[in-house]
């Protein structure tokens, strides 16, 4: 008996938005691709379910990265930890706790029916706005910036929620209005509204790297969501034009000098610049010291208080110093594999929403890796972008692993070959 169209709509309200899914559904029905028992399960889609099993390669790559990252975090942090906390294991122990919590969150999320997120996407975005507003009214943290909401044992960074909120919202939006995404009204307009408001709130914190990442994620989501390439090119042209105008008028070099001595870490001329570029310069020293083969695991010298907080944003400089260019390249390769696997498995997801969400979440890692490395190598201003799975930090790691859990959840529906 052919299933009633209306019944499908009621059973799985998400998929009515997805014409593509409906077509595939039709085809698969004819091919009897999905067994009746599976169909039933989908009809009564629950909040949690096992589905077809997670994508093992993705999961393994993820755990490998997490292991390497934790080892390097320990190596980078133990001297700093010893000097500042009187205990070399201070950061390691906490990070392991965060990992445990994060992995638990990941496992839970991998069983979570991501389709349920379709409904709550606007709510998540709402929570992101709320936290962004909340952090502004809370007392300022270290250095007068308002980036953290203190929550007892660890702090929550609203921008982390905002990143997830933006990816989730535009996955929802683009899959809902997929046919209308060609129109500026459905792509450019919500993009500008969401990005603009979040950027404003982040500007007030201030958290410039957050703005950059949110901006890139917005563009990315709109692009894969079906926005006209024309708009992307126009936007890119405007950006290049702005940079050119600044360069010609001399505004760029002024901006660069204002941005904490960006690009001038080795050519400091004043004491102020010496201090401003201290972290970046020592990062460059560390990277240069690594050479091709590195000084060996645990042999970094720059981590001995030269690089401030070596367990955070600048951890990769210590990684390069210890493991060399070879080690850095291998780690980048593993990241690339993760991203590749994450994107390809997302493409095989059964629905538009899953595809967009999986691609968005995975790409976010790639963007952060690239930006982080460009920051520590002084190609971008030092603005505080952490390296996924490596940098120390509770809320971001747990958020990250939970998001990876979502990708794994998507992989349960993905039609990819498994052994």
């Amino acid at each position: 008996m052919a299933p009633n169209k209306r019944m499908i709509f009621q059973a799985d309200v998400n998929r009515i938005y997805d014409e593509e899914y409906q077509r595939d559904e039709q085809a698969k029905k004819e091919k009897l691709f999905i067994r009746p028992s599976r169909r039933r399960k989908m009809k009564n889609a629950k909040w949690f379910g096992v589905g077809m099993g997670i994508d093992l390669p993705f999961c393994i790559i993820l755990l490998v990265l997490l292991t390497i990252g934790t080892i390097m975090m320990f190596s980078a942090s133990y001297a700093f930890s010893y000097y500042t906390q009187g205990d070399s294991y201070y950061f390691l122990i906490r990070q392991i706790v965060f990992i445990a919590v994060g992995l638990a969150a990941m496992i839970v999320m991998s069983f979570f029916n991501y389709n349920k997120l379709h409904k709550i996407a606007p709510i998540v975005l709402g929570i992101a706005y709320f936290s962004l507003l909340l952090v502004l009214v809370l007392p300022a943290g270290e250095g007068g910036v308002k980036r953290w909401i203190p929550l007892g044992m660890f702090n929550i960074q609203p921008s982390e929620i905002a990143k997830f909120g933006v990816i989730l919202f535009f996955s929802h939006w683009a899959s809902k209005y997929y046919n209308k995404m060609q129109l500026a009204k459905y792509s450019i307009l919500p993009g500008l509204i969401v990005f603009g408001t979040i950027a404003l709130l982040l500007f007030l914190e201030p958290h410039y790297s957050g703005i950059v990442i949110i901006g890139l994620l917005t563009v990315l989501m709109l692009y894969i969501g079906g926005m006209k390439t024309k708009y992307l090119l126009i936007g890119g042209a405007l950006l290049v034009g702005l940079v050119l105008v600044l360069a010609v008028t001399g505004g760029l070099s002024y901006a660069m000098s204002r941005m904490a001595g960006w690009g001038q870490a080795l050519e400091y001329t004043t004491d102020e610049m010496w201090w401003d570029t201290y972290q970046t310069r020592n990062s460059l020293y560390a990277i240069g010291s690594g050479g091709l083969w590195g000084l060996g695991l645990g042999q970094s010298r720059q981590k001995y208080l030269y690089i401030p907080e070596p367990q955070n944003d600048f951890i990769f400089a210590v990684v390069v110093e210890e493991l060399g260019l070879i080690g850095a390249a291998i780690i980048l390769l593993i990241f690339a594999l993760l991203i590749w696997r994450g994107i390809t498995l997302s493409l095989r997801a059964k629905d538009k929403f899953g595809k967009l969400l999986g691609i968005g979440l995975t790409s976010q890692i790639g963007i952060q890796v690239v930006l982080n490395i460009l920051v520590i190598t002084d190609w971008l201003p030092n603005t505080g972008i952490s390296l996924p799975f490596f940098s120390y930090g509770g809320s971001s790691l747990i958020m990250l692993l939970a998001q990876m859990g979502i990708v794994l959840s998507i992989s349960r529906t993905a039609n990819i070959e498994r052994t």
Partner: protein, 758 residues
């Protein structure tokens, strides 16, 4: 992909595939953007930094970790010839700040006030240093143990009270000590703040003494403490080499003692020089520039000079002080020249003998003056010396005779020998700042010049070259290279360099040298104290008194400034040690070399020759003053005792009425002068008898001897007792009640008296 496509079929097909296809394409673009462009850029940037800039970045990283913790090498020790320490470096510390580790102004102020109090440095100055962004700022160097301990306490206090760590470091340092203070100051020299040699041997042998500073290349963390793991490249410091001087501390101190006395006695205005040289090797046994300065405090001028400078207007003071200091440090024996005067006659005589121009029978006539080229040159004896043979001419130090000798030698030969004796070149002594001589350039010398040159006037040479020439006259004609460093060893004692005797040339023959020794020995023997006669030794020598030419404002009271000198050696028949003594501008009672310098020479030699164990050869009249031992006469009968005493060459004085000698004075084996009286006690009562010791001072030895006989006392003669010596000290003071026969030790010294022969 929004491009117009003409093929309708295609469009249709695309429409069918539609969104899925578009998403795949866009995802491909995304993957390219992130994985190819993004990761590619990151990898390119990392490759550039590690492979291209790697070495320079690593260098910068290493250099910021290795904050040049230089480990100073221990500077070598300077020993005298007998291995006594003259200069050595002892451990000290330097206080270094790492102001970058300060966090608050409170910490800075606490550290600055603590350091300024402990080290006695300016508070504001230290405070400025605490504000620098540096890891290495020296606050004070060369602090000693007690200050170091207080700095360590301060460090603890800062850590405890202000939570301020790693700001003060104590690094090893060394401080130079000169245990003998002024001794041989002109030879040893001193070092500057960085232990670099500034004067004398310290300067000349700086490369040997300095050693190689090491670097502890521990990588420090950003707070300057050592990293907790092994990243160390330890370049050890290599301690400096030790230097053994030819200077003998004993001889040097004897010389300095008498030179200082000579300066006082003769009110010498422009310092004095004494050089003692081993005639056969050229080794300098002593070199004195009197008065010296305290090597431990080389920047302090003598009080009177400082006083004069303080009276100057303020802006001239610094300059005057600098000049006074460099004058004080100047080694007059090497860096200054003087006119040798009659001392030079030993050279003129040698060259005439060597050339065969004169022999023992050659006679010279002196009528009190001599005319050369219409210019009359006076002899010091206005009445003239009459007709003299060669030996007499030297003994008389007759200028007209030497003018004739000079003329016999001839101008060219004279110049050749001048060069041959080594006056024209630097002596090559291993001390800094040796001066050039000042002689007439070739072709400009007139007959008058030759005439005055033959008795050592109107040209100037360094004292060191004069003593070198004197040694050549004495040792068989060999011109030696003088040296003050005999041996250099490394810190472990292995010999790095051994200085050998270096003969430059033989300027006169052995025969000439022997003849000169005879003549100069005869000179001393006949002229006595005025020519440096030292009792018990055959000494050869020549006095010299030179007028300082070209002095516009004489400072002495004689109307002209003089240099009084004496150059001699001993023993005359087998020369071992030569010595030059000269006083520049004496302003006391006399200015002749025979009056001013001879006594000093005699006093020094009287102590130095026995020290060198030169064999004695007493003349009969001297034997009266050589101590002999008293025998044992107790227990003998009075008659036997008297006989024994007289046999031993003493006179007898009997106290008491017994028949047997119960006691004697001086006691058995006491040293007393021959012919002294032995007091024999034959009963106990007479032993309470006392005599009063008179004042022996200022009397000659012979007179003291006769005085002693009158008081029933015995004398032990000490020092320069021969002609010209007067008593300068007695060990039992005047007025003391002593038993008859007690031995009073009286010390004699040659003194300025009415001798001249110049």
């Amino acid at each position: 992909m929004e491009d117009n496509e003409k093929n309708a079929n295609r469009r249709k097909k695309r429409a069918e595939k539609g969104p899925n296809q578009r998403l795949r394409q866009r995802t491909a673009v995304l993957i390219i953007a992130i994985l190819v462009l993004g990761f590619g850029a990151a990898l390119v940037r990392l490759s550039f930094l590690t492979l291209v800039q790697g070495s320079s970045l690593q260098e910068a990283a290493v250099s910021q970790m290795l904050r040049d913790t230089k480990i100073n090498a221990k500077r070598g020790t300077i020993y005298d010839a007998k291995g006594k320490v003259l200069a050595e470096s002892a451990s000290a510390w330097q206080v270094v700040l790492a102001p970058i580790n300060f966090e608050t102004d409170q910490q800075r102020e606490a550290a600055a006030s603590g350091l300024s109090e402990i080290l006695g440095v300016d508070y504001q100055n230290v405070l400025e240093k605490t504000k620098q962004k540096s890891y290495y700022v020296v606050v004070k160097r060369k602090i000693e143990v007690d200050q170091r301990d207080r700095v360590m306490e301060l460090t603890e206090k800062l850590s405890k009270d202000y939570d301020c760590d790693g700001v003060i470091q104590l690094l090893d340092d060394y401080k130079r000590y000169y245990p003998k203070d002024e001794l041989a100051s002109c030879v040893i020299g001193f070092t500057g703040a960085d232990e670099q040699g500034l004067e004398g041997v310290e300067f000349k042998y700086d490369d040997y003494l300095a050693g190689t500073p090491g670097r502890i290349v521990t990588a420090g963390d950003a707070r300057g403490t050592n990293m907790p793991f092994q990243y160390e490249q330890n370049i050890e410091s290599e301690d400096g080499n030790n230097i053994y001087l030819t200077i003998d501390e004993t001889i040097q101190s004897i010389c300095e003692k008498y030179m200082a006395q000579g300066i006082i006695d003769n009110n010498v205005k422009n310092r004095a020089v004494c050089i003692a040289m081993d005639v056969n090797s050229g080794a300098i046994l002593a070199m004195v520039t009197a008065n010296g300065y305290n090597l431990n405090d080389p920047y302090t001028l003598p009080a009177d000079v400082q006083q004069e400078i303080n009276e100057l207007p303020e802006k001239e003071r610094d300059k005057a002080e600098g000049e006074a200091l460099s004058a004080m440090w100047r080694n007059k024996a090497v860096a200054d020249t003087y006119m040798p005067g009659s001392v030079f006659k030993m050279c003129t005589a040698s060259m005439a003998l060597e050339e065969g121009k004169i022999d023992d029978n050659t006679t010279f006539t002196c009528g009190g003056s001599f005319v050369v080229d219409d210019k009359t040159i006076n002899c010091h004896a206005l009445g003239g010396h009459g007709t003299q043979n060669f030996t007499q001419a030297i003994c008389n130090s007759c200028n007209p005779a030497f003018i004739q000798i000079g003329q016999l030698v001839g101008m060219n030969k004279f110049r050749d020998y001048y060069r041959g004796f080594g006056f024209a070149d630097k002596s090559g002594i291993d001390l800094p700042g040796e001066a050039d001589d000042n002689f007439w350039p070739e072709g400009t010398m007139s007959l008058v010049d030759l005439a005055v040159a033959s008795f050592g006037q109107n040209f100037s040479i360094t004292p060191i070259s004069m003593i070198t020439a004197c040694a050549a006259v004495a040792n068989g004609g060999y011109v030696l290279q003088p040296y003050v460093v005999s041996k250099i060893t490394d810190a472990k004692g292995n010999v790095v360099k051994n200085v050998e005797k270096k003969v430059k040339r033989q300027v006169v023959s052995k025969e000439t040298s022997d003849r000169m020794n005879e003549i100069l020995g005869y000179n001393t023997e006949t002229a006595g104290a005025t020519a440096g006669y030292v009792a018990g030794y055959k000494v050869a020598g020549k006095t010299g008194t030179s007028e300082k030419i070209g002095v516009e404002e004489p400072v002495s009271g004689f109307g002209k400034d003089y240099i009084a000198s004496f150059c001699g050696y001993a023993p005359a028949d087998d020369p071992q040690i030569a010595m030059l003594v000269f006083f520049d501008t004496p302003d006391g009672g006399a200015y002749y070399g025979s009056q001013v310098s001879s006594p000093v020479f005699i006093n020094i030699m009287t102590e130095v020759l026995p020290y060198l164990e030169i064999k004695t050869d007493y003349k009969e009249e001297d034997l009266a003053f050589i101590d002999v031992s008293a025998g044992d006469y107790t227990g003998l009968s009075l008659e036997e005792a008297k006989k024994a005493v007289e046999e031993d060459g003493f006179s007898v004085s009997v106290k008491g009425s017994g028949d047997t000698v119960l006691a004697q004075l001086p006691a058995v084996s006491s040293k007393l002068a021959p012919g002294g009286s032995i007091v024999l006690y034959t009963d106990e009562e007479s032993r309470s008898e006392k005599v009063t010791v008179p004042n022996f001072l200022e009397n000659t030895a012979a007179y003291v001897n006769s005085m002693a006989a009158g008081y029933d006392l015995n004398i032990s003669f000490n020092g320069a007792v021969s002609t010209g010596g007067v008593a300068v000290a007695q060990d039992i003071p005047e007025g003391t009640e002593v038993s008859p026969g007690t031995v009073v030790t009286v010390t004699f010294a040659a003194s300025t008296d009415s001798g001249f022969n110049d």
